[in-house]
Symmetry: C2
Subunit: 431 residues, 2 copies
Amino acid sequence: MRTMNPVPTTSNPPPRHAVVIAIGTELTLGQTVDTNSARLAQWLAGLGIRAAWHVTVPDELAPIRAALAEAARRADVILVTGGLGPTDDDLTRQALADEAGAPLESDPESVAHIRAFFAALKRPMPERNLVQALIPRGGRAISNPVGTAPGLYVELHGTPCYVLPGVPAEMERMFQQEVAPRLRAAVGGRVLLQRRLHCFGLGESVIGERIADLMQRGRNPEVGTTAELGIIGVRINATADAAPQAAALLDEAERTIRARLGDVVFGRDKQTLSSVVGQLLTARGATLSTAESCTGGLLGKLLTDVPGSSTYYLGGLITYANAVKSGLAGVPAADIERHGAVSEPVAVALAAGCHQRLGSDFALSITGIAGPAGGSTEKPVGLVYVGLATPTDVSARALQLGAWSSRRMIRARAAYAALDWLRLHLARVGR
Amino acid sequence: MRTMNPVPTTSNPPPRHAVVIAIGTELTLGQTVDTNSARLAQWLAGLGIRAAWHVTVPDELAPIRAALAEAARRADVILVTGGLGPTDDDLTRQALADEAGAPLESDPESVAHIRAFFAALKRPMPERNLVQALIPRGGRAISNPVGTAPGLYVELHGTPCYVLPGVPAEMERMFQQEVAPRLRAAVGGRVLLQRRLHCFGLGESVIGERIADLMQRGRNPEVGTTAELGIIGVRINATADAAPQAAALLDEAERTIRARLGDVVFGRDKQTLSSVVGQLLTARGATLSTAESCTGGLLGKLLTDVPGSSTYYLGGLITYANAVKSGLAGVPAADIERHGAVSEPVAVALAAGCHQRLGSDFALSITGIAGPAGGSTEKPVGLVYVGLATPTDVSARALQLGAWSSRRMIRARAAYAALDWLRLHLARVGR
């Protein structure tokens, strides 16, 4: 494969403004959610490049060309994902060649890479994979260490344009290994740093009121809020000539926001409720187990999303059927009969039983009505009880997560509420 | 709130081409993944309207106006989400007013709705929520049954433009209740119907080769493939003057594709591996339980994503720590010591122990190395054993899910592989 120069050869100005283009009819028709553009935008921001315009177009030549042409006018650098696959609906190469006015040519080193990839898997190479080695004349291949499709680098009307496969794992590896170093070299000094604080327990508008002065337009850092499944994000973006100054601006804003919001702020950036709970448990050398009914394993899944969670998370019980609540967690059948499976006594018994049977220091339990069916007037959809067993105590709380909420939302908020309860308990009783 | 007319009053042609605009700096910076545009595009396609262009712009007046102006040129109908919140970074209302050349005015009925919303929650109304009642003169409010922000309907240079909040649950309810009926009335006859087949067990390029003739460009129906976490989607889009003809085209294409791919096709449209397994279990009145190590509850979570899964899913064991594997599932400590926790004998013992202790007809187990740490030369990251206990037999299989794969990918593929094994077992032994 021809090696790319360390920095694009033309004397373009340092890139500041990117356009991100996602290509795929499955995306424009909404059959797949595009996550690539968001991830690229985040990585670009880390390099001080702002992706202020994202466009998604179908696997059709004319819209792809239109998007490329418009991006070349609007941006200093273009990032494209998708449409590099081996099948007939993959048209990105052709559209690039058309827009660049350069014919497609087979790149011998890319051909060798594709053949070697299939040989290593001991699988025959479908002939059609060879179209993935086609590159517009004057462009260069970007090597793909984890798949068959090489990426492409071309200049479109003078604007550098990097094209990566749509498969997220391949896109990530190729961006980080091949594209980011080149962009970093091209950018030089001025940087945009971003930070995100994560909050649980207050609504977006209340949080917005408490930090309204910081959210006024035109300020640096720029502060804004987002909401998803009950978790409110406060994003802070700071621009400065160098990273230390930008970081100082972020630190100052973070201190102010934390002072206003208190322990509603549970973490920042890549921290999640699960990872923060994990840090608090690790700090005191304590262990956790879970007993889940309506969340069906989601709480355990969230906890074990965190690499290394095996040091504090022992495991859990998914007590979906009532017989399993009694058999595995020792919930008295009489409690279920008298109060119902969705009740405070059952949440308490689940937490206590799990605590005892798994021998953990703490245990969380969840039982509720996730819907859409199963609600009643006294116990509507969205009613959830969360239980917490500590080394000295067991208790439960009722949550009303909204009869109009989706099953997905109710399950997520129930799991988050359980994690947040444990977080606040661990933080407040100290180490 | 002023009521919208059932159909926009101007004599626009039936809408065929939509532009979908997502507004939010958290989206352009990639801090949040935009799922709204994909969902809107799917719903629009169901109405025969093709959203062939999606744009995402930050919370800034100039790019929002530029996107609106361009969309008005490009589309018959514009759908916008986001930027209707109560905080200072929400500028969609102002940008619409500027682009429409109409001043913002407070809508008394929207004010009443917002006040009533907070009164029902017994929470004081932050004054700043009143900005959500501002509407460009000549526009109309779209009522929001589940939140404070009304949507907006305006015409931009003659093009109908619907603006909905960015909160997915609010956006969905308002689109389905308020916008879809108006678009359906405006569209009239010609429809685009779509279907998606889901495959597991073959790679995208092999599937692409088997159906290459159907994927040629310009055909109706249009056929394409996508890949995500090992699940390959085959989408079929058919256009016709009326729904029955479009459906017949879909049926014919589906028959052909199924004949070529066999039982690699596990479902279509909203079906998932979990829902298909659930249907197969329900058909024979059988029950299932799970024992999970490296997936930590993900398999249970996937199974209970399906409403009504309590009729066949009894529950499970999350046996993350080795002591829990022995204590809860009865895995002999000697097996763990001799073969390691990630081994065929342990996968077999987990499935057998879970089967017996939960009293289910079938049980699935998973034990593996999800990474990023914990791998070795003999047992690299990505090595996973899946076990299946049936009423008559227990066995396990090794999977090698790739040392370069992410923790998320390894966990998802392990859970899918377990579900797919049970699916094929249930389908092959018949009912």
